[in-house]
């Protein structure tokens, strides 16, 4: 008696085609690796659509470690309507993101809802792109723009656009001065910590910041001598 070796199939459908679209999207949203997402969207038309749909549900997207450029990053972020956390930090292939990419990203719907953004080490960007993006990122709480060439201009933009900012990493931002930091601390009243390693700013400046906001944490700890603010 011959048993069906292959799984039973409906007339038109293969087994997994019976899965409704939103279940497929749910499954794809659980894939964490971009390679998996890429393979999945190459399987068939329905899956390609499913991956796009699942992008809309993702709350986190990280390109860190991938050789992305302006277009590939933007293409994905534009579909990620639910995004809350975006990481475009530098990969070992160097920085591929430019101001043009930041400009394109600024048009994505999710930017105004982002709570966390990292542009760490993206040496190809300047104030121009950052200001464009930041002026739309009004819900940002955690920002990492360490290892970039931004200046006070970007900090003024952050001060003006990000009232909910809680933490900021300015690691190695050697072009940022006291003026930018003062504007930041004065306007971002919810700011809790600044990572200021490698910045060209004096201890006096930090004392000034702590006078405005005594609870402010200057990271990394131990970088400053013991400062008591009464």
């Amino acid at each position: 008696m011959m048993r069906k070796k292959v799984e039973e199939v409906d007339d038109q459908n293969r087994p997994i085609d019976r899965l409704p679209f939103d279940l497929l999207a749910h499954i794809f949203a659980l894939l964490t690796c971009f390679k998996d997402l890429a393979q999945t969207s190459a399987v068939c038309r329905k899956w390609r659509q499913g991956v796009k749909e699942s992008l809309g549900r993702r709350e986190r997207l990280s390109f860190s470690g991938w050789k992305v450029d302006d277009d590939s990053t933007t293409r994905l972020v534009l579909h990620a309507y639910s995004l809350k956390e975006l990481d475009i930090s530098r990969s070992r292939w160097g920085c591929q993101i430019t101001d043009r990419g930041l400009y394109q990203l600024s048009t994505a719907k999710c930017i105004s809802n982002l709570s966390s953004l990292s542009l760490w080490g993206t040496t190809g960007i300047t104030d121009i792109g950052v200001v464009q993006l930041i002026s739309r990122a009004n819900s940002i709480q955690h920002l990492n723009i360490g290892g970039t060439f931004i200046t006070d201009t970007s900090l003024f933009a952050i001060a003006g656009s990000c009232p909910h900012l809680k933490t900021i990493v300015l690691w190695g931002c050697r072009h940022v001065t006291e003026n930018g930091l003062l504007a930041l601390v004065n306007k971002c009243r919810k700011l809790e910590s600044i990572n200021a390693w490698g910045m060209r700013v004096t201890v006096d400046c930090f004392i000034g910041l702590l006078t405005i906001s005594p609870a402010l944490q200057i990271e990394p700890k131990g970088m400053l001598p013991n400062i008591a603010v009464f």
Partner: protein, 166 residues
């Protein structure tokens, strides 16, 4: 007419599969299913489930019973159960996720979707198609376009992708 839920005896429900087989289950356990919960609120005690076959229903009841006993102390035990629970053939998993979706059992839907995602991870396109029995319906032009768009995702890691389906 319906007995008060405050009585000593636990309120029982009857679940009926698509093949008309009936299974008794405590209401407190069955309401892990949002669909069943709604029907109970409308005073149903016999719940017909025309979308769920007997085999699948038995597994679902087993899941709900196990998760109905959840306490702070048996979390590890339930984790082990879940791990074993998804060690099933692809067809079984498919039937289960469809049923869980229909019955609206959130924790089970999540568990099963994760199991599917785990089976897709690290597989080549060919392997995925083979495992899930999906034909390639792209035209050559479309396929080239897809690869072009995701070229960057293929440049990380090894040159040769795993094509075996295991």
């Amino acid at each position: 007419m319906a007995s008060s839920s405050k009585t000593e005896q636990k309120k029982m429900l009857i679940l009926k599969s698509s093949e008309e087989e009936e299974f008794e289950i405590e209401e407190s356990i069955a309401v892990q299913s949002g669909t069943i919960k709604n029907m109970v609120e409308d005073d149903f005690t016999l719940i017909p489930l025309p979308n769920v076959d007997t085999e699948t229903l038995i597994k679902i009841i087993k899941y709900m019973k196990k998760h109905g006993e959840k306490t702070k102390s048996n979390e590890k035990d339930i984790e082990e159960f879940d791990k074993e629970f998804v060690k099933k053939s692809f067809t079984e998993l498919k039937e289960l996720v469809l049923a869980a979706n229909y019955l609206h059992i959130t924790s089970l839907i999540d568990l099963l979707c994760q199991a599917f995602a785990d089976r897709i991870k690290n597989k080549s396109v060919k392997a995925i198609r083979e495992i899930f029995g999906i034909p390639n319906d792209f035209t050559p032009e479309e396929e080239a376009e897809v690869y072009e768009q995701h070229k960057w995702a293929h440049e990380e890691g090894k040159e040769h992708i795993d094509h075996s389906a295991y």
